[in-house]
Symmetry: C2
Subunit: 153 residues, 2 copies
């Protein structure tokens, strides 16, 4: 099945993700590439329903269950980051090397990248004081961003 041609020039994150999936022995089905492409093309974090709707418009036979399974696969394999906002889960591609974390504004819903360096001291203190090895790969904090703070009257 050929769903779409390779109109993905310059999509570095997309290419990285494909490489990771292949490395780990996962099959590159058109459905997976489609979902991946949908997420890659989305500017911000994107929810299951949006992924489904956008992808289905390209390939109408796509099943919602496949989207769920695909997204969970991508998450477990490390290709994307899952951000839990309240009760809503959204997703965003992750780059190959650099894990980065997220700050999410509760008011305007924008996300901001956060360098891992901000969490290093925290992580080190847990290891040192409790011998607890935290997994901060998919770390996200919610809060209020600077724009929304200044808009408060």
């Amino acid at each position: 099945m050929q769903i779409f041609a390779g109109a993905n020039k310059g999509m570095t994150h997309y290419d990285d993700a494909v490489a990771i999936l292949r490395e780990k022995g996962n099959r590159l089905t058109p459905q997976r590439l489609l979902v991946l492409s949908t997420i890659a093309e989305s500017r911000h974090h994107i929810g299951i329903d949006e992924i489904y709707k956008a992808s289905k418009s390209v390939y109408p036979y796509l099943d919602l269950a496949t989207v769920y399974r695909t997204v969970h696969l991508f998450r477990d394999v490390g290709v994307l980051t899952e951000i839990g906002i309240g009760d809503r889960h959204t997703y965003e591609l992750r780059t190959r090397d650099g894990q980065h974390h997220h700050m999410l504004c509760r008011q305007c819903n924008k996300t901001f990248s956060l360098s891992p360096h901000y969490l290093e001291a925290f992580k080190a203190s847990l290891v040192k004081d409790f011998n607890f090895e935290p997994d901060l790969d998919n770390f996200a904090v919610a809060g209020v961003c600077t724009d929304c703070k200044s808009q408060r009257t």
Copy 2:
């Protein structure tokens, strides 16, 4: 409707929670007190299904929807902390004053308390560098605890 008598002597967290609910104008229905009591009596964090099962054994008419609504109310009002572990959500009472955070072991599923002080530097750096005000009230980290680390061969 009277479900159970006041066998709650010394349950400080429970009493605090009741006070907070009353303060905020929520009705203290037997169902709510029952759910609260169930969570308070649970030694560790507890899931919706467990809350439901345990509470229903005391008051069989209790509906699952009520448990969901009650737990969400408690969370929004700040009476309990919701911990998202993977796909599972669990709950734990919160004391009136002292918020504390959680470390959760992915392997043995035990939780450990974490003093807020460990996150203060992190929080301060976000405020300073990005003017981003993180909400760390319900903070939980997953990882591997010291026991499980030592059990690895």
